[in-house]
Amino acid sequence: MSKQINVALIGNPNTGKTSVFNALTGLNQKVGNYPGITVEKKEGICKLPRGVKAHIIDLPGTYSLNASSLDENVVIELLLNKNDKDFPDVAVVVSDVENLKRNLLLFTQIKDLEIPVILVINMADRMIRKGISLDIDYLEQQLNTKIALVSTRKSKGIDELKELISNYKELSVEPCMHASEIDKDYFDGLRKAFPNQLLYKLWLVITQDVNFGKTDRNEIDPVANFKTKSKADLKRLQQKETIKRYQFINDTLKKGQTIDLNTATDLRIKFDRVLTHKVWGYAIFLIILLTIFQAIYDWSSVPMDFIDSAFASLSEWTKNVLPSGAFTNLLAEGIIPGLGGIVIFIPQIAFLFLFISVLEESGYMSRVVFLMDRGMRRFGLSGKSVVPLISGTACAIPAIMATRNIESWKERLITILVTPFTTCSARLPVYLIIISLVIPEGRIFGLGYQALTLMLLYLIGFGAALISAMILNKVLKIKSKTFFVVEMPNYKWPMLKNVALTVLEKTKSFVFGAGKIILAISIVLWFLASYGPGDDFNKAEDIVAKEYASQNLSEEELQQHIASYKLEHSFIGITGRAIEPAIRPLGYDWKIGIAIVSSFAAREVFVGTLATIYSVGNDDEDTIKNRMAGEVNPILGGPLFNFASGISLLLFYAFAMQCMSTLAIVKRETNSWKWPILQLTIMSAFAYIVALIAYQVLT
């Protein structure tokens, strides 16, 4: 095996590191025009010229090596730990040609670590528009590095970059400036005390606490105790260091870069005058949200109906074509309806992801952060919490990860805890099918009742998130310094390829992720529903025949009674009826009960579970929806899914914490079981109570 070159992509947020990563590795990691899209290390392989391979690491963006939030800290931990298996042989600093000055600050710091550095100046396609020209030779000489001028949008400069990476051994490891001049005495003392260590690394370790928590520093632990300066003095020194670095950068760019302001055109100002306006800004945000809901409803109904009936016929076809037997039944009654219960939602989920990714790619997300910050602070959240709350409508898992760029731990923790209230795409299947069963079809002001109900459910989700945030803000006694700085990136046309890829990847992982669980659950359910213990199940034919002997039933009716008698005495029927007393006051029967219990693995299995249970022993093929509409309340008569039980179910799903993966991610992000357990119990208990009240009031 030849040795791989370790390459780390480092740079300010939103400079296009992930785009460069994707261009080098051919992978499709998520890209977006919002600082903080990447929050953890991502890895890939790149083939270089002459058969060499490089191991590429994409990192979260950071403004400097002085971390102030968790995602930034990932970079520092990697660079300070020479023993890390990913420790880079060469660092590629990715910068944005429009923000070169600010981007170079980090570059000069990385240079001080004395590792080989390549400077990528990305977004070169925007130079003409912005009237920017660069003297690359001069910059290379001043910065003591090699520069690749790249545009990932136009696929330019990537080959040159690969060439530079494969020749990394020729790069100079000399710093390009001398930051330690800001306090000669102090740094000389430091150098004498630890002659074997790199001076800048020592300085980073010493100052790390000032801005953020711990770094893994076993390697040079005693350094942390080198306290000849107070915290305030250290901070002042860091300020001096920053100013010093900027002086160097300004001097360099004065000669190396010219910007012709006359040719620079900027749409930002015109857009921002409206989009961040005190009144129009909010109005437009609301209109965007309304459009999304209407679109999810109206645009996807045709493909959904098609998918629904296609699966019903597929199931029937399987039954007719394959030889009858247990396997055919499992396929036709368990697996196909179960999968149908998830595939049917592809159109809606795809639309949702489409909208979210366009919002992220255009640069609009930061404007929402700006508009909402003050309002959110009232609830103990930050403007930055809006992004997890919005992307939580797709899935809580990436949303919770996206909280990593919130600087204050308290604001971040509260955001993590309340994000599962937002209506994620897994709730959508449940909502949609129940809404279509219990809410009439009329329209008001051009908006369908059903679409409005859906919107109301989203609002309830956000409302629950905000109110619980407010309570948590009062209850949690956590002191953490809060500050808030968010970059407002320039507007960009969403790149079709990026949007399409995001939609495709996300939809795919939704379908396959959920598909796996659903497949497993439907198989288990089918077995439990098709077999049962004792005589009640095995001699069902005789028992039912005896019971109805006097009634002169047709053969078909008799078969139906037998099937439902069997189902009730199958393993699943027995379990279902055991839990029935707990859910009857909510207006559900035991079948819904089973669906709810299996939903604690993942909500989206609700529809599939019902589909499986209903299919067992039922010969005429029908769509899931028609089957649900046909269910009769065993005690009260009338449809089982009526207004009262429907609303009760909707509310239960709105509040209950039914997602194992989310609990696991909360455990990982908070580093304790306390928070996920709290979420699970409080949210679910609350859901039960609300559903109970709703049903009792409405019947």
Binding site: F370, D373, V486
Partner: protein, 77 residues
């Protein structure tokens, strides 16, 4: 009275003269909020909080609680 960023009106510009208060996060300096740099108030949210700034070409938003610690000279045109 000291003039701070919070005194700027929308569309006005100023020159930053001091950012040494301990209430100013280092991150802000790193993003270019340095003495001598020009700052423009691009837009304000309701109650002038947060504030959307253009500092030497970098666009960012900060809260008022931070803005009141950044000393500036207002440029009168």
């Amino acid at each position: 009275m000291e003039v701070t960023l919070a005194h700027l009106k929308r569309g006005e510009r100023g020159i930053i003269i001091d950012v040494s208060s301990i209430h100013i996060p280092l991150k802000l300096l790193e993003m270019g909020c340095l003495p001598g740099n020009e700052v423009e108030l691009v837009q304000v949210a309701p109650f002038a909080d947060p504030m959307y700034l253009n500092v030497n070409g970098t666009h960012l938003a900060i809260r008022k609680e931070t803005a009141i610690h950044i000393l500036i000279d207002i440029i009168n045109e």
